[in-house]
């Protein structure tokens, strides 16, 4: 039993929580962030990696569009390491209703979203694999963003302002003293220890899980409707620019180049349980068909992984409950002092990654207004550190060849453990030494271990051996982590298994079962 004291506890380590804890800490509050698993393991790590220009919303949600355009500029400045300035295209594909595109430029102008129409020839020169049958193309300032890097960067900034970040701390109780929140009780799932954090204020940023957290504070019936969407990563950047269909927001209308892959997304189906998000076969087929419209031959290229994320949408009486795409994407703040007579608790719901900083600012303003205090928000002014190096961002945005450059520098001095993603041994050792309780999936999210075409076939045994040699784990845990990693890779592999990835999967099975006989290693206790 451990006890900590704080002014504010932030529940949830997605983009909203990370943004809030950074803002709260910068305004001088003693802050603790808790998450039941790793940072950005939920929705903030399960999206298509699009940093919106705002173009997607100019017609359907003009206010959001303007916010996106503004925040895009701010984030590109303060979190350059997690953002690639790919630029974006809105294209009218064969058969698309032309009327949407006719109003597109005017809507962009009205919402201050920079956009220019270019000729189809120029669009095809820029992206030669695009469908040559497109009839119009508009350039916008979409980018791609690594949600994990972004959240870890915000958390690292918060830590510099004294905040504590506690991952794998699952909230079990929220205590009150009279009509005010007094403590958050958690279980540390890595050690089993109970941790009580005394506080005056709790900000519930648990996203799709926010209703469950509110319930722990005896605030029932907070309705968050998770909207499930699937994404599929292809093993190459079929495009180097974000490509959007210039139509009303629809399934499978975005293709985003992120790191070494490109990601097609997404679908939108009401999900009863954010912890059970399937990747249904028919949605996979739907995404591949959608990819084929943007890039002919899409089905012949290689899908390497799929995942499913849950948008935390607020229930809105304006549309039917089964149609989550057309609910408001704006954020909403539930003040439980008004709603349930409990002071010191706000529940946040909705929003989007691109505007996470702005949302955090609004939320902390709301907290201060309840507390009767006031400080300036400075999160847009200060640059975040690059969490992987600890250094401040130098203003250079990410480019896909960064790692290649680094490996060319150190190739005579260090081993490459993961050839697909050019992860060096030092990168892995440094991170596991700094986070000795991490699982390989925790490390993967920051290092991209096992995220390339081999899906762990070659690198996961290396990671296990190197972690053992680093002395941070023992043989039982090492073996358990290896098994868990392979098991978890399979979750996103089997629903899209086709083409060359079948061949890779057979090779990986020959390695792990055929040569190593890993399935007959003695069982280990379950690892976290």
């Amino acid at each position: 039993m451990r006890r900590l004291e704080a002014d504010v506890v932030v529940v949830g380590g997605g983009s909203t929580g990370a943004g809030v804890v950074r803002d709260v800490a910068m305004r001088g509050y003693k802050a603790v962030l808790v998450d039941r698993v790793d940072l950005a393991q939920g929705t903030s790590g399960r999206f298509h990696g699009l940093l919106h220009s705002g173009g997607r919303y100019v017609v359907s949600d003009p206010h959001s569009a303007t916010e996106c355009a503004e925040e895009n500029t701010i984030l590109t400045r303060i979190q350059a390491n997690s953002i690639e300035k790919t630029g974006g295209l809105f294209v009218v594909a064969p058969g698309d209703d032309p009327t949407y595109a006719e109003g597109f430029l005017a809507a962009c102008e009205a919402t201050k979203v920079p956009a220019t129409e270019i000729s189809v020839a120029r669009a095809l020169k820029r992206e030669p694999r695009l469908n040559p049958g497109i009839t119009r193309a508009f350039e916008v300032q979409d980018g791609s963003v690594d949600g994990w890097q972004m959240v870890w960067g915000a958390a690292a900034s918060a830590k510099e302002y004294g905040a504590q970040i506690l991952t794998y701390h699952r909230v079990t109780r929220i205590e009150r003293s009279g009509d005010t929140v007094s403590a958050v009780v958690c279980t540390d799932d890595k050690t089993g220890e109970e941790v009580t954090i005394g506080c005056h204020f709790v900000i519930n940023c648990a996203g799709a899980w926010a209703g469950q957290i509110a319930h722990l504070a005896d605030c029932p019936d907070v309705q968050v409707v998770p909207g499930r969407g699937i994404m599929i990563a292809m093993n190459h950047r079929l495009v180097n620019t974000v490509v959007n269909r210039c139509i009303h927001p629809h399934d499978g209308d975005i293709l985003v180049p992120v790191h070494t892959v490109c990601i097609i997304g997404t679908t939108d189906v009401k999900a009863p349980d954010p912890d059970r998000l399937p990747i249904p076969r028919e949605e996979v087929q739907q995404m591949l068909d959608a990819g084929e419209v943007l890039v002919p031959g899409f089905r012949e290229s290689r899908a390497i992984h799929a995942w499913s994320g849950a948008r935390p949408l607020v229930k809105d009486s304006r549309v039917g409950a089964a149609d989550t795409r057309h609910m408001s994407r704006g954020m909403s703040i539930l003040d439980h002092s008004e709603r349930d007579g409990l002071k010191g608790l706000l529940t946040i719901s909705g929003g989007k990654l691109t505007t996470y900083r702005l949302m955090a600012e609004r939320i902390v303003d709301a907290m201060e207004s309840q507390l009767g205090t006031s400080h300036d928000c400075r999160t847009a002014l200060e640059v975040c550190p690059d969490a992987s190096t600890g250094r401040l961002n130098e203003g250079k945005t990410y480019v896909v060849t960064h790692r290649l450059h680094d490996r060319e520098d150190d190739r005579l001095h260090d081993q490459i453990l993961c050839e697909c993603e050019l992860m060096s041994r030092r990168m892995f050792v440094d991170l596991i030494k700094a986070n000795p309780l991490s699982s390989f999936d925790d490390l993967r999210r920051q290092l991209r271990l096992g995220m390339g075409p081999c899906q762990g076939g070659f690198c996961s045994m290396r990671a296990t051996g190197v972690a053992l040699d680093a002395g941070t784990i023992d043989i039982e845990r090492a073996t358990g982590l290896l098994r868990l990693f392979l098991q978890n890779r399979w979750i996103g592999l089997w629903p899209i298994l086709a083409g060359d990835q079948v061949r890779q999967t057979a090779l990986d099975a020959w390695i792990f079962q055929g040569t190593l006989d890993i399935e007959h290693l003695p069982e280990t206790a379950e690892v976290v």
């Binding site: 260090d414 490459i416 290396r462 051996g465 043989i475 086709a498 079948v502 020959w510 079962q513 006989d517």
Partner: protein, 406 residues
């Protein structure tokens, strides 16, 4: 041309040698070097059924569901294939009594059954009470002594400790592959450097396990290392490309060439010309233009899904790329979310009669002069039951002997 063989894995090479040695003119067509170099370099017959198998040929007749390749190949042909490959490779490359499985440590410290092993691996045979010193190299990223030793001590009633040497394959290397080490170990002076560095770290009676890198051309390098150390030494196969598999591949390829097999390497066989129930020729997509190879008989040994001989497209439709053969085992839900269970997808393949001729769904022979061997055959998850080489050899012998009799 008497025979065209497609594929340069174990079954293709062995079938080609067996036919060429009885005077058939044989051409072997292959896209690449063949799957042996990706293998662990042992001859598996049956390791799990589903429990651990110690006597493979006793377990074989009862093994598997109807449709398993062993049901049609039969134990006698498998045995004759295993004996044949042992004879071809000779005692400096393969050892063991086919009746009893070896139990050998793997690189992650599991205990793996196999029928024949390379002599360099034999001292690894698990015996209760053995003390192992498992030795890795800091500069090789595909073998970790602590992972192997740690699990070995958990897997069996033995003790095992890890030693990691700071010894690159070439001066100043930080990232030396297994093959780079194997080439270094071909040189006696490197073996001496290794022994000098390791010997003081060893304790009396320890059996020394090293990754399988003890020579690629010099096949008794392991024996020399053992003598220099004064300890029993054994090799542990590593993930691909694996040196023991390369040794087998090299030996069998040389034997095939010596027997007069013509090998055309580097292109895919993309189709076939047929007439009724006979294959007339196959089309090799050689550089410049396609070339047809006509023959009286054909051995189709291109591997399974791992080689791309069987493919599944994004709609889930599975096909065999050369002859468009009917496939057995196709149904819905071939892949499931349970990583640790066998996936039915990998049992899809070609069903054959006991002459290894492909059958359609009604059980009729599709082509009377086409014989399938190895990974293309339906009905087994080879990596899980440890049966890959047994199926390859048994079917190669059946195919070759049918053609020989014809």
């Amino acid at each position: 041309m008497d025979v065209v063989v497609i594929g340069a894995g174990l079954s293709g090479l062995v079938a080609a040698i067996r036919l060429a040695r009885v005077g058939k003119s044989v051409t072997l067509l292959t896209k690449g070097i063949g799957g042996l170099q990706l293998s662990q370099g042992t001859i598996d017959v049956l390791g799990y059924s589903p429990d651990l198998v110690t006597r493979p040929f006793e377990a074989l007749p009862r093994h598997g569901k109807p449709g398993h390749p062993y049901r049609v190949i039969g134990g006698a042909a498998v045995r004759s294939g295993v004996d044949y490959v042992a004879e071809l490779c000779g005692p400096d490359l393969l050892t063991g009594h086919a009746d009893d499985n070896f139990l050998l440590p793997t690189a992650v410290g599991a205990v793996r059954p196999t029928c024949l092993a390379q002599p360099s691996m034999a001292a690894g045979q698990i015996t209760a009470g053995t003390s192992y010193a498992i030795v890795g190299f800091r500069q090789n990223k595909d073998f970790y002594a602590a992972l192997c030793a740690g699990n070995l001590a958990r897997s069996a009633n033995v003790t095992a400790r890890a030693i990691t040497l700071d010894l690159p394959a070439r001066p100043n290397d930080v990232d030396s592959s297994a093959l780079a080490y194997a080439r270094a170990f071909d040189d006696p002076s490197y073996r001496q450097r290794f022994a000098t560095l390791l010997k003081p770290k060893l304790e009396a009676g320890e059996v020394v396990g090293v990754p399988a890198v003890l020579g690629i051309k010099v096949l008794d390098a392991w024996r020399d290392v053992s003598e220099r150390l004064g300890h029993e030494v054994f090799e542990i196969p590593t993930p691909p490309p694996g040196v023991p598999g390369m040794r087998l591949n090299e030996r069998l390829t040389q034997l095939a060439k010596a027997a007069g097999v013509r090998i055309a390497l580097g292109s895919r066989v993309v189709g076939a010309r047929t007439s009724g129930r006979r294959v007339e020729s196959v089309t090799f997509a050689a550089a410049g233009r396609n070339r047809d190879y006509a023959a009286a008989s054909f051995v189709h040994a291109p591997g399974g899904f791992e080689s791309g001989a069987l493919t599944m497209n994004s709609y889930g439709s599975i096909s065999e790329g050369v002859f468009n053969l009917p496939l057995a085992g196709v149904r819905d839900d071939l892949v499931t979310g349970d990583y640790w269970s066998d996936q039915a997808l990998f049992e899809v393949g070609v069903a054959v009669d006991d002459d290894m001729r492909p059958l359609d769904a009604a059980g009729r022979v599709v082509y009377s002069n086409l014989h399938c061997a190895g990974g293309i055959l339906a009905g087994a998850t080879r990596w899980s039951e440890k049966s890959g080489e047994g199926i390859a050899l048994g079917s190669a012998v059946r195919a070759a002997d049918t053609i020989r009799r014809a």
